[in-house]
Every structure is written in structure tokens, then in C-alpha cells.
């Protein structure tokens, strides 16, 4: 399979290995050590690290700056970029900025609404939507042109991804929506956290029936539960999240001090099961403020060591 960028993630996926990514949220301050520390905890166990872009609309250190810190440590970043805060001028400009540091991956998102964050009275931009952002990156890379039509000197070489939620409403378009993202040029997909494995497998089957898994790399999103409280919160409060009662019951069934370990076990078992599913090309492990557990999850899931490509 032809490799288009210097992305290690792209190479791993295209060589037919299961890819592993994780994520790291930039701090609410200017201290780069926090990012570096999170990065160093996981760097040997993943192919690339997503850096979130003001997630939940809370103002944080810029994703691009945090990516640069990781890149300088020799860790490959996935630059997350939301369309909430920047218009097409700023988006294209940041894409070039990222490419200037040879940041080779991007994940295109619309971003949580600003009303969730610390700037609820702020404007939102949404000049482009997430699919159009995917198109834009591909256009800049493949055509070597800006949206305005001019040539780009040294076009950005970026492996482009998008998010998908296998459990999202409206259910009729769960698969068509993925097809649309692929049509826009999404080369890899990172999914919403998966807890309802049956439902995910059902979605995956429909994806495979349409042959979509051959047109993109689908990385299953995994987030270990720290406690039964977190599981309940995810079930009841987080939009688009499907947490079956079995997961909650299983966590509730062990001592409070053992719940975190149980959460890791559930996560590892899920990865082991999904590894065997047609269409799953890798795992995106989002251990929120729990990065130190990523190595254990990766190792126990049989995904370590990471391949050299």
C-alpha cells in the first residue's frame, strides 16, 4: 500500500499491523513539563499520541504547541483540530504550521460546543465542518493548493483522520455518515469509546458489508473506567455514550479499591475480543488523566512491542 506521508502511524497501519494510539490533553497553563511527562509515560507503547484541541471547550495550551513539544521528544503526535475556534484562514495556517514541524497526523473534529467550557459567552466559528476540514487537508496535501486555489510551497504531508461514533443518533446514518467521512478523504478513523461490544460488532459488520473497512483504517476507541461512579457518569451524562449495565454491575461487584483494576481488566478483555473482529485496524486508548496505565493495557492486550516499520 502506498505511503503518502512520513507518519509512523500510517506505515504501521499500511503494513497490516494493528495500530495503537493514545491521547494526551494539554495543560491549563504554560508549563510544557506536563505534556512531556504524559508523553514519556506512553511513548514506547504507542505508534502516535493524539493531542486534544481545547477539549470540552476548556481553554488550554494549544494543541499545536503541545504537539511540537512531543515531536521534539521524538514522539509522533496526532494533531487534533476542531472547527469551533478557527476559520479557514486559521485552519490552513495551522496545518502549515504543523507541517513545518513535520507533524504527520491530524484528526479533524467539530469540537464540543463552547457552552460546555469556560468561555460559554464566546463566539463559535464553524466556517468549515469536520468533513470539510478533512477535505481541506487532503486538498492541501494531494493537490498542493490552498482552498483559495493558489499553490502551496512545500505542501503539508499529513495523514488525515476523523472521528466516528458507532452508537450515535440518528441510527439510520451511523454507517452512511462514516461513508461520507471516507468519501471526504479520512484515511483513519478513531471511534468513540466502546463499551457495548455487541452493538459495536453489529456496526462493524455493516461497515464491512459496505466494504468501508477497506477504504480506511478504523481504530476502536477504548477508555478504561476508573470507578463505578465514572461508568455511571459516562452512561448518563456524556452525549452519545453507550455503557451497558453489565459494565456497571461488574464494577459495582468488586471492592471500591479494586474497581480501577477491574476497569483495566474490562478494557483489556474488550481489546482482546475486538482484535479478532474484521475491520478493526487498531486501538485508540484514551486513558483520561490516567496515562500511566496505558503501558499495562497495551502489554496485557498483546499489542507490545510496537512494530518497527
Amino acid at each position: 500500500m502506498k505511503v503518502n506521508t512520513q507518519s509512523n502511524l500510517e506505515k504501521v497501519l499500511k503494513a497490516g499491523h494493528l495500530g495503537v494510539t493514545s491521547e494526551c490533553g494539554p495543560p491549563r497553563g504554560s508549563d510544557p513539563e506536563e505534556v512531556k511527562e504524559k508523553g514519556s509515560l506512553i511513548k514506547d507503547h504507542v505508534d502516535a499520541v493524539n493531542v486534544t484541541d481545547n477539549q470540552t471547550a476548556m481553554t488550554r495550551m494549544s494543541s499545536l504547541a503541545a504537539c511540537v513539544h512531543l515531536k521534539l521528544m521524538g514522539i509522533e503526535p496526532v494533531l487534533q483540530m476542531v472547527t469551533r475556534d478557527r476559520n479557514r484562514v486559521a485552519l490552513q495556517s495551522d496545518i502549515l504550521g504543523a507541517a513545518s514541524f513535520d507533524i504527520p497526523n491530524m484528526l479533524c473534529l467539530s469540537g464540543d460546543h463552547q457552552s460546555f467550557g469556560d468561555c460559554a459567552q464566546g463566539q463559535n466559528v464553524h466556517d468549515l465542518d469536520s468533513m470539510q476540514l478533512v477535505q481541506t487537508v487532503r486538498h492541501m496535501r494531494d493537490e498542493g493548493k490552498f482552498l483559495g486555489g493558489d499553490d502551496i510551497k512545500r505542501p503539508p504531508k499529513i495523514f488525515v483522520g476523523a472521528a466516528a461514533n458507532p452508537f450515535a443518533d440518528p441510527f439510520e446514518i451511523r454507517v452512511p455518515r462514516l461513508a461520507k467521512k471516507i468519501a471526504c478523504g479520512a484515511e483513519f478513523i478513531q471511534t468513540q469509546c466502546i463499551y457495548n461490544l455487541d452493538k459495536f460488532e453489529e456496526w462493524m459488520k455493516q461497515v464491512c458489508d459496505r466494504g468501508l473497512h477497506e477504504k480506511t483504517f478504523i481504530m476502536a476507541g477504548m477508555t478504561p473506567m476508573k470507578s463505578v461512579g465514572m461508568a455511571k457518569y459516562m452512561k448518563n451524562r456524556v452525549p452519545g455514550m453507550d455503557v451497558p449495565n453489565e459494565v456497571i454491575d461488574r464494577l459495582a461487584g468488586v471492592d471500591k479499591k479494586d474497581q480501577a483494576q477491574e476497569g483495566i481488566d474490562i478494557c483489556v478483555e474488550a481489546i482482546q475480543r475486538l482484535k479478532e473482529i474484521e475491520g478493526v485496524s487498531g486501538f485508540h486508548i484514551m486513558a483520561i488523566e490516567w496515562e500511566e496505565k496505558v503501558p499495562e493495557i497495551v502489554e496485557r492486550s498483546g499489542l507490545y512491542p510496537r512494530p518497527e516499520v
Binding site: 467539530s110 463559535n124 468533513m131 470539510q132 440518528p170 452512511p176 461513508a179 471526504c184 452525549p239
Partner: protein
């Protein structure tokens, strides 16, 4: 129509307290229908202001007038003969009416009495909801007659975003997800296949982004 909402009385009082002769000026169009700035609201606000100043010292004269439209020269002319009687006008029209009145009567202070909210519909008694943002290039033909620009909190043209849950928007359980409505309508029209057509990057130059907008029609300009 244009939907407006009455400003809090305290805010209006604060703005007019230094004037002595005040006209409360209504409009018979949209703001009458949405019960924010028609003749009735003019009467009520004028009466309330009179009572406020009677009980708080200031000696004021409060006048009342409602015209057919504040966004039209000919109706606005109706107050010209009396304009010198007023130190200030509280206009209960939408932002258009307030400005048009201000432009016409350069030396009279103009104070808005309503907040102009949106272009919307009279959905139910006491419920007005947004339907259009006047983006200047309508996409409704492609979205089942439901507008993603005005009704999606992120104006996502290829939606929905990941926040759509049980048909509702992530910002509130009281807000419908526009893309759920679009998908439902496309289904009802037996056009769900159209969903997969990607909406291209939008030309927002016809939106407010392009600066103040004008429609010029040579054919009706005599």
C-alpha cells in the same frame, strides 16, 4: 418574521432617566405579532414609566405612538411633525426599526426597548423559535427543508456532530438536533440516499461575514 424580546424595565429606565420628554414608539409588524413592541406593549411600557417617575421624583412627559412599520420611510414620516416635542425615543421595533428611526431623526436620542432575537416562527402561544439566519445562500433544497445553519448549534453542513442524542442537541435536551430532523425528513421524502452527498465548503461571503448586505433591483427601481 423578526422575533424580539422586551428589554428588562430596569435597563430602559436607566437609559431614559436623564430625558424629560420621551416617546414610546411601537411598530405594527413583527414585534406586534411576537408581543414585544406593538401598540399594547407601548401602552404598558408608557404607563409603567409614568408610574415609575411619579414615584421616583423625576417629572417626565411620556408620549405614545405606534406606526405601521418603522422600517419604511413613509410611516416614519408620521412622527416628523412632533419630533421636536421629544428628547428621546424608546423604539420597540426590531434593530432595523430603531436604526431607521435614528437615521431619520438625527438629533433625537434613540433607545431600543427590545432585544432583537432572530428570524423565527410563531411555533405556539408564547413560543417563538428560530428558523433562518439570513446566510444569503439557501441550502434548504438539499437538507429536506430544515436549515442546518440556523438550527444546528455548530451550523454543521455535513451533520450531525457526535453530540446528537435521542434526537436532541448536545447543548440542551430542549433543543432538537437539526440533523435528526433532516434525516427524518429525508426519510419521509424517500430521499435518505441524498444524505451521502457531501455539502461543499460554503461561501459565507453572502452571510454577515461579507459585510452589510444590500439587495438592489433595477427592475423595481423607478
Amino acid at each position: 418574521m423578526i422575533i424580539a424580546k422586551k428589554k428588562p424595565m430596569e435597563e430602559i429606565i436607566e437609559e431614559v432617566k436623564d430625558f424629560d420628554k420621551i416617546l414610546v414608539f411601537g411598530c405594527n409588524e413583527c414585534v406586534t405579532v411576537c408581543e414585544a413592541g406593538g401598540k399594547k406593549e407601548v401602552e404598558v411600557l408608557a404607563s409603567a414609566l409614568r408610574m415609575y417617575f411619579m414615584t421616583h421624583g423625576g417629572e417626565k412627559e411620556i408620549f405614545e405612538k405606534t406606526v405601521e412599520r418603522q422600517c419604511d420611510h413613509e410611516y416614519l414620516e408620521e412622527i416628523r411633525k412632533d419630533i421636536d416635542n421629544y428628547d428621546a425615543i424608546i423604539s420597540l421595533a426590531c434593530g432595523v426599526g430603531v436604526q431607521f428611526t435614528a437615521e431619520k431623526y438625527l438629533t433625537t436620542h434613540l433607545i431600543p426597548g427590545v432585544n432583537t432575537v432572530c428570524l423565527g416562527a410563531n411555533e405556539d402561544r408564547g413560543l417563538w423559535t428560530e428558523r433562518c439566519q439570513a446566510c444569503g445562500s439557501c441550502v434548504l433544497a438539499k437538507t429536506g427543508g430544515i436549515c442546518p445553519v440556523s438550527r444546528c448549534a455548530k451550523r454543521v453542513l455535513n451533520g450531525p456532530c457526535g453530540g446528537s442524542t435521542n434526537g436532541k442537541c448536545e447543548i440542551s435536551k430542549d433543543v432538537d438536533c437539526a440533523w435528526q430532523l433532516i434525516v427524518d425528513r429525508l426519510k419521509a421524502l424517500d430521499k435518505l440516499d441524498d444524505y451521502e452527498k457531501v455539502a461543499p465548503v460554503k461561501d459565507w461571503s453572502t452571510d454577515r461575514a461579507g459585510g452589510p448586505r444590500t439587495v438592489t433591483r433595477e427592475d423595481v427601481n423607478i
